[in-house]
Amino acid sequence: MDCNQLARAATKAGMILLESGAETYRVEDTMKRICEAYGADVVDAYATPTLLIISFSIHHELYHNVKRTQIKTVDLSKIDKVNDLSRSILATSMPLEEFYIRLEKIHEEKPYPKGIMIFAAALCTFGFAFFFRGTMRDALCAFVIGALLKICMIELDKIDFNSFFKYLMGGAITTILAILCTKWNLCDSMDTLIISVIMLLVPGLAITNAIRDTVSGDLVSGMARTTEAILIAVAIALGSGLVFASLGGILV
C-alpha cells in the first residue's frame, strides 16, 4: 500500500469535511479512523478551521501531511457522506484507490440548483415573518425581499472578496428594500420585515459549531468560530445601520 497516498486520502477527507462546515472533533476523528482502518498506528490528527495536520506511522516509518483549508460553503450532505464512507472502510475492506475515487466523487457533488436555493431563501424569510408575529402582508414582502437578497448574495459570492464586506452589503440591501416597501405602503411593520430577512444572513452554523467545538475541548477552533460569528453579526448590523444613518432621514 502507498503510504503517501494514505496521507493524501486522509487529508482530503478532512478537507472536504472542514470546508463543508463539520465540527473539529468529527474532522479529527474521521482522519484518525481512515488511517487506522488502513493499518497505521500512533495516529495523530489536528484540525482548526484553516489548517489540517495528520501524522501516523506504518512499519516504523513516520508520515505527515499538512493542508491549508478555507471555510467556503455549508454542505451538510457531504459531511454525512464522508462520515458514512470512512465508517464503511473496515466493513467492506475497500482498497485505498477506490476510497480515494469515491472521495473525489463526493467532493465534486453540486448543491441544489440556483432556482431551488432562491426559493428556499424566500421560504425561509416567509416563515420568519410569521414567527416574528408579522402579518400576511409582511410575510409576502419578506418572501420577495428574501429571494432578491439571495440572488444578490449568489452574485456577491462570485466576486472573491472578504466575507465581512459581503455581509455588510447584505444587511444594507435588506434595509434599503424594506424601507422602500414601507414607503410604498406594502408592509405593516418595517422592523419585522427587516428582522425576518436579516435572519437569512445570521451565522447559525458558526454559532452552533463554536458551541460544540468549545464543549468538546477544541478551544482554538471554538474561539475562531466565535470570532467569525461575532464578526458576521457586527457586519450585518453595521450594513443596516449605515443605511439608516445615511438614508433614514430622507426615506422614512
Binding site: D75, L76, C124, F131, D191, G204, A233, A237, F244
Partner: protein, 143 residues
C-alpha cells in the same frame, strides 16, 4: 402556536440552503417547527424569554440527537437548521437601531438582552451535549 409552527418553513428553507437531501430534510424542518412551538407555548404560559429559549433549545437538541440515531447521520445536520429560528436576530437589529438613533442607554439595554438570549441558547445546547457525552462514556464502559 401557529406563529411558532411557522418555524417549519424557516428550518425547511435553511435545510435546503445547506444541501440536506431526502427524508432528513423533513426531519430537520419538523424539529425546527417543534422547537418553535415549544418556545411559543412557554412564552404563552408567561415564562421569561430566556427560560423559554433555554427549554426550546433543550427540546431541539434532544430531538436532534434522537433523529441522528434513527436516520444514522451527524447530529449537526438537524441541530443547525432547527436552532437558527431561535437566534436573536431581532435583538441584534434593535441594538443597532438604538445606536443609530444615538440612544446609548437603550443600546446597552438591548445589547445585554441579546447577549443573554444567545447565552440561553448556548446553555441549552451545552446542557444536552454534556449529558450525551456522559451517556457515551457510560455506554463505552459497559460494553
Amino acid at each position: 402556536m401557529i406563529n411558532g409552527f411557522m418555524a417549519v418553513f424557516a428550518s425547511l428553507g435553511f435545510a435546503l440552503l445547506f444541501n440536506i437531501r431526502g427524508d432528513k430534510l423533513f426531519a430537520a424542518a419538523l424539529i425546527g417547527g417543534i422547537g418553535g412551538v415549544f418556545y411559543d407555548l412557554l412564552i404563552f404560559f408567561h415564562c421569561s424569554n430566556y427560560f423559554s429559549l433555554f427549554f426550546a433549545c433543550v427540546a431541539i437538541s434532544i430531538l436532534s440527537e434522537l433523529f441522528a440515531r434513527i436516520l444514522k447521520c451527524p447530529v449537526t445536520t438537524f441541530l443547525i437548521c432547527a436552532l437558527i429560528p431561535l437566534v436573536p436576530g431581532g435583538g441584534m437589529y434593535y441594538t443597532m437601531l438604538e445606536i443609530v438613533q444615538n440612544n446609548i442607554d437603550g443600546a446597552i439595554l438591548k445589547g445585554i438582552d441579546t447577549i443573554v438570549q444567545a447565552g440561553s441558547i448556548v446553555l441549552g445546547c451545552l446542557f444536552v451535549s454534556s449529558i450525551m457525552q456522559i451517556y457515551k462514556q457510560l455506554k463505552r464502559k459497559n460494553s
